[in-house]
Amino acid sequence: MKYPVVKAVTLVLAHVPHFARYGSKPLREIPRDEQALGQIESALRSFDQARDYAPHQVYIGNMRPEALAAIEKPWYAHTKTSDRFGPHGEIIPEDEFYGLMAIADQFDLFRLEKEFAARVRERLSEHPLIKPEELKPLDKGLPLEQIETMIGQGALPLFVNGGTLVGAMRSGHDEDDTLTANVLLENLACKASGAWAMRHLTNERHGVDISQVDYVLGCGEEGVGDRYQRAGGAMGKAMAEFAGFSEASGSDVKAFCAAPIHATVTGASYVQSGLYRNIVVAGGGSLAKLGMKFRGHVKHQMPILEDVLGAVAIVIGPDDGKNPVIRLDGVGIHRVKHSSSPPAMMQALVVEPLERMGHRMTDVDKFALELHNAEITEPAGSGDVALTNYKTLAGIAVMRKEIVRDEMDAFVRERGMPGYSPTQGHIAAAVPFLGHARDRMLNGEMQRAMFVGKGSLFLGRMTNLSDGMSFVVEPNGG
């Protein structure tokens, strides 16, 4: 049987240290602790530090996840000069990303100071993925006094380089809580980063023909809407427009952090049904998660590591006899009747679909589970999420007598990987490895990978349920 294929995967990071103060946690802590803002600002990373950070180099494909095991910890203190571009995408500096946000803003709400806008225009004009005519919004920079006036009227100040004021973000409506400057900054950052990951699909390496893409499924963490429909959505279509996918329509899949997995399975099903020729799954970065664990990082005298927006774009198309296939007969579903305990979830999402396909757990070369970078989570007391999940998986393999107890560490090391993803939620949920898996399968190095995402539905107070979904990717048999 033929299955849909993964035609391309791009992964982009936007380094936005001066947005850390607008993350949900810092935004709540700064007003009640006069030291908090200073602590955050004095611990921000430069672009070079963020670019050279090994987990980020893994994210954009310049390093393999396994290579992290050989790098001395803490990784943030053991960097080496690296490239901002990689086979899977790029790490965008803050000033250029501000430029992209200004271009992405169709309502003149994200405004930049005149001289700064001109400098950004010049820098972006050298970017291979932007067209000269797209830079026109950067000609609309404002005098600094006007920016200051906007801030005096309630706009959010925008900074670079340790505190230089370069712009302001206005609200979209005086009386709508869903269109405040903070909410719109979050949504615009998501749109710009997600669309930029999509734009990378069109680069020389991937060469995706945008005229062949019919639909874009957004899978980010934002809530785009107005007061009458708070998370109305359709970021997928907004990203498609900015990325230049003019033949596409789009909408969103919402499932907390598991959304990229749900969206990939949904999109693959659209292609399999013949409804659409090719689809894109795209998730922009989550500004709300920036600086979430800043207390732990400050306490341990570390840099604020939650200073990047993570974005992903995946192209799924019909079987082409070449690209790796998504086995739609091996999708793992967490049903309402299933327990939310980690072992029960692994049973539903890993064991059950593998058994259905006639496979054992040891038939999977790599499991991509929750890939949170432990260097970010451990200082805040949240543990090593990736390792915990891999140990649960190894324990199940022992109970199933696929391995013996003494082989658990080897199972974790060989079939898992160190967590390397920014703690953006949806982005850490397995999909950062999809680019690596596709490369390995095309090179003949890998026979099977399983992608498992989990979603914390209970956070929304509508159910106590957890959620999750999984899919299996294999090389194309031709």
């Binding site: 939310s340 999420v385 703690t423 209970f458």
Partner: protein
């Protein structure tokens, strides 16, 4: 600890023990669960 008749808040964690599992457990010991929550700390 004797839980019979005690009021309990069941606070669980996504990657550990869910709040619902804690609530079910203490109910069998006779506790009165007044609030069940699961949190996500990552």
């Amino acid at each position: 600890m004797e839980l019979k008749g005690r009021k309990v808040i069941a606070l669980g964690e996504r990657d550990g023990v869910p709040g619902t599992a804690i609530a079910d457990l203490v109910k069998t010991a006779g506790a009165d669960v007044v609030l069940t929550l699961t949190q996500c700390y990552v």
